[in-house]
Amino acid sequence: MWLYFLKRLGLAVAVVAIVIAALFAMIHAIPGDPARVALGPRASEELVAAFRERIGLDQPILVQMGNFYVSLLRGDLGRDAVSGEPVLRILLSQLPDTLYLVLGSILVAVVPGVFLGTLAARHRGSLIDRVTSVISVSVMSIPAFVIAIYLLLIFSIELQWFPAIGAGEGVLDRLHRLVLPSLALGLAWIGYVARILRASILEEMNEPHVRTARAFGLSENRIMYDYVLRIAILPTITVLGIGVGHMLSGAVFAEIVFARPGIGKLVFDAIISRNYPVVTGAVLLTTIFFVLVNLLADLVIAWLDPRVRHDLAG
């Protein structure tokens, strides 16, 4: 297990390093001199040269790249090109709103997803199974931003049940305003959760310990909730782990449509205003988050399934 853990960790670090290198290359591929972009067209040649020296642009490219890695390791993601504030601080100030949204979306995905998945598995092959399967596939395929706009149109503008913009003040107001964005972002994952849960319940039902429980005369409900679901839910957790990464990036749409503060809105605004340090910082943060969550998911799988770790360690 330790060998597997180390290998997997090394792989994750390598992946992040490659992404950073690609990001660095991209920043340098952007046309125009960053110093001139930062100082504006009226800056004198001396000023531009001094600025280049100050932020290290006059050094060889490999040294610049090395410096880039070192400052990242220190948690320094650079400074906002407009306000001069550290990018990390800006990102962390926006992170909670996005995390609430992701949390809400997980709730939206899990509660109906587990219900539908269990229902489908218990009535395997029946009409109920078929209908849940169609519902799962349908919600999985419709893009989240289309759902977001339709929800806004129906529930905020036509019915006026929910406010259309902002994150709100106070707990109740915040929760109220979280409903539609969470629905938009989480709806697709109802399908993923229901599907994977159905499959793993059906697999688990054939296990000897479940048959034994049945032979002892335990009720079907008891078998489902005390024996089957406890184990069958594990792959679902893994899928949700991956889902968190996707939701974090999909939050861009929900935050724009519902005019909520958050990482997604921040990046989008930063792109419009060509505020590159904020863009790269946010991309890096979400990528690292994504890689970490995937690593965690893989480790959980390996912990549950020895075959996987032997394949990789061998």
């Binding site: 792989l11 992946v15 952007i30 893009p143 339709y150 991309v283």
Partner: protein
């Protein structure tokens, strides 16, 4: 001697055996109600795309006096904030959505499969390197990747194409690699090698036909995702540039004037839903029909 068995395996995929199997599979595909529905929705979209330009209206013609109109005989889906006919724009958008999603998926497929074949058939170090590249490409969240790329290249169709290739190619690459590894030491490949066939010939003439089936199905199932990526990027102003109509940009224009009229948003969103559902239903049915191995995993 296991040669006869291998010959049989090979003959299952050769040209002679195909037509009969394909005909019965098609019948099975449309006998699945979901598959038939999916096919119907796609045919509807394709007809829409083919009809683009024959409604007698210009998708970019401005007519501010008629703006924000509801559906009528003259404007089947109403008009947008600039008085443009939404039905005409939706049809023109269908053409862009279909060409781009199928084209981009095909490009990602070609690049991914070639890289995967090389990873699976080539030396170990190259395999490890390519795997690392696949992993790195897959680990950047799609929306973030799109945002960064567009910051560099500016919004365009090519940016969408690039995003789709980076997002989807690694999955095809990984599949191709795994399958190649599985058959690279089988006897019919060994036989080819001992007859003096070169690496390229073995990869493309012998390995490729044996591994491409499941990858094609996965690619078909990715098309709705790509339709979503194109629409999403155009919605954010990162894809197709105005005044070219894309479903995403129709949606964005409608979203900006949501309080004036719901019709632009309805007109922009419905075709996205119809197309993604169509491709997803068809993809599911395709998978169930052609690849029971993948189907068993669901």
């Amino acid at each position: 001697m296991t040669l006869p068995a291998d010959a049989e395996t090979a003959s299952r995929t050769d040209a002679g055996g195909r037509p009969r199997r394909r005909a019965s599979s098609f019948a099975r595909l449309v006998s699945d109600p979901l598959g038939a529905l999916g096919l119907g929705l796609i045919v509807l979209t394709v007809i829409g795309a083919l009809l683009a330009g024959v409604t007698g209206q210009d998708a970019t013609a401005l007519n501010p006096i008629d703006r924000f109109q509801g559906p009528s005989a003259a404007h089947w889906l109403g008009t947008d904030n600039l008085g443009r006919d939404l039905f005409t724009r939706v049809l023109a958008g269908a053409r862009i959505a279909l060409t781009l999603s199928i084209g981009a998926t095909a490009l990602a497929l070609v690049i991914g499969v070639i890289a995967g074949l090389i990873a699976g058939y080539g030396p170990r170090w190259l395999d490890n390197l390519l795997l690392l590249v696949f992993d790195a490409m897959k680990s950047v969240p799609t929306v973030m990747l799109a945002l960064v790329l567009v910051t560099m290249t500016g919004p365009s169709l090519y940016a969408v194409l690039l995003v789709v290739v980076i997002v989807n190619a690694p999955a095809y690459g990984r599949m191709a690699r795994t399958q190649t590894l599985a058959i690279r030491s089988s006897e019919f490949i060994e036989a080819e090698r001992s007859l003096g066939a070169k690496g390229g010939r073995i990869m493309f003439r012998h390995v490729l036909p044996n591994i491409i089936g499941p990858i094609l199905i996965v690619a078909a199932m990715d098309i709705p995702v790509v339709v979503g990526i194109e629409a999403g990027m155009s919605f954010l102003g990162l894809g197709v540039r105005p005044p070219t109509p894309s479903w995403g940009s129709i949606l964005y224009d409608g979203f900006s004037y949501l309080r004036e009229s719901p019709w632009p948003v309805i007109a922009g969103g419905l075709p996205i839903i119809v197309t993604t559902l169509g491709f997803t239903f068809l993809g599911e049915a395709l998978r169930d029909t052609f690849d029971p191995k993948i189907a068993g995993r669901k």
